[in-house]
Subunit: 317 residues, 2 copies
Amino acid sequence: MIESAAYDGQTLVEEFVRSHFIADNPLVTEAVRRMMAAGGKRIRPQLTLLAAEVVGAQPAEHLELAAYMELIHVATLIHDDVVDRADTRRGVNATAVDYGNRISVLAGDYLFAWIFRNVTARYPAPIPHILSATLAEICAGEVLQLRALGDVALTLTDYLEIVGKKTASLFAASAECGAIVGGASAEQRTALRDFGRDYGIAFQMKDDLLDMTADAERLGKPAGNDLRERKVTIPLIFALQRADRGFRDSVERFFTRGDDAQLERIVEGVTACAALQATRDRIEHYARRASRSLSGMRDGAAHRSLIEMAASLVEEI
Amino acid sequence: MIESAAYDGQTLVEEFVRSHFIADNPLVTEAVRRMMAAGGKRIRPQLTLLAAEVVGAQPAEHLELAAYMELIHVATLIHDDVVDRADTRRGVNATAVDYGNRISVLAGDYLFAWIFRNVTARYPAPIPHILSATLAEICAGEVLQLRALGDVALTLTDYLEIVGKKTASLFAASAECGAIVGGASAEQRTALRDFGRDYGIAFQMKDDLLDMTADAERLGKPAGNDLRERKVTIPLIFALQRADRGFRDSVERFFTRGDDAQLERIVEGVTACAALQATRDRIEHYARRASRSLSGMRDGAAHRSLIEMAASLVEEI
């Protein structure tokens, strides 16, 4: 059942974007197309469709709303492409084309505006408000993350605030909006929103864990990429709590001077201590809490798919 | 009367922003504050307030909506600050700080999201839709402008499409939204929207004219700044239509190689021919058409202020 739901959601969202998103300008269309082609499991729209289905609606009727959830994510990815001079000096994104920044900004802005233009025309309150409040949360989370770069004193509480805003807020909104258009009761809406938020936190933690442990081929990017970008993620926070002064010093030196020889040693340091297991425990905690949010709901295919999605987060970690 | 309306609108909008816009993050608050402090005549909120007043409402009740019109403009200015590596190489924005791009993108995004979050919570349809559709138009216009950089074949029709989208759309929306919240009839709403659009076109043309003619001190930036950024504006379009092959060649060479010695000669070439007068004629045409849009409206202080605003566009040019 989860196989077919996943397949439908993914294919149909992509088809929607292909047929409906045509910007006046080919540069914008190209930026969106390229970012969509870069992959992604389209989990956000899947949450919207399953949330609508679990409260008794026909998911096929809410494909458009589901697509907007993915497109908000795509727009933030396009803006993430904007680089600083510092980045190009440090070799990150060195291949960025000269006029790439300005196009990325405008393409992302156009996409945000296009989404809100359509959503305000087609969906009643509180959908447009939820989406704009979510975008504000995502931005606030990204600013917090930017300020926290290279901060070895970052706590788990700080990390959870960042992740809750930059990642989990859109998962929560995706599930909540699906529930709303599906005709959910107030309790169902809250339950699905809670599911989305906890799922999103566990999802980001898993992403951060894999960045530390997975090989480059499986991840599509080199391991330790977050470290290279000076991001302090949950496995590193746990490692810094557990490791000795020498480890902390080497992390601080790496964040200050950034040579790749040290990077490998830091990844080894994180994987050698109990930090990875502590991270796995947190992932399991949030995945379980997500499932528990749905305990009051009727069993059925969509319900099982959601429970299965949460369960799959604790696999292969 | 226009004096007091202008003063009130400006002061009160700034006061609203000071007291209501507090982002979680000081970097975002600072980016907005700095852009507000850079000046501006707050014409967009003034249009909103006068449009509300001219249809019989109390402008003081619509200050918040007026402030959002200015803030949409401010957010686009923050995103305009994003620079490319090409710019920094060519000396434009060379003082941009290293992490400026990313902060500019996030601050602008946060501001857009914050505006829409508030507008969707406080204003009924069609206000949120008009604002998001307007933002889409602004972005589309800016992408068109980006593609037209250095294009000596740009026509007046192309220019009008760019200006209509990137500048006039927000003036039109500012007046239209003021009319809507003020309780305008359908005819009044259309008339005020038309006024805003034509006013906006004339406003941008005047800006483009002054960039060619005014001295640096009055303009706050060196004359010929648009040329330096490879923008093809209305005085240059008229000059290219009228000038000889040699002038066109020198413009093309300047856009390709960009040495400042040629810049002065091009500015002289534009000001020496009939291009400036042709530009003045177009400004007058749109300013007059703006005023004519309001001919069916009752005379009164707000009506006179709007007519006076349009008339002031043809002064000192």
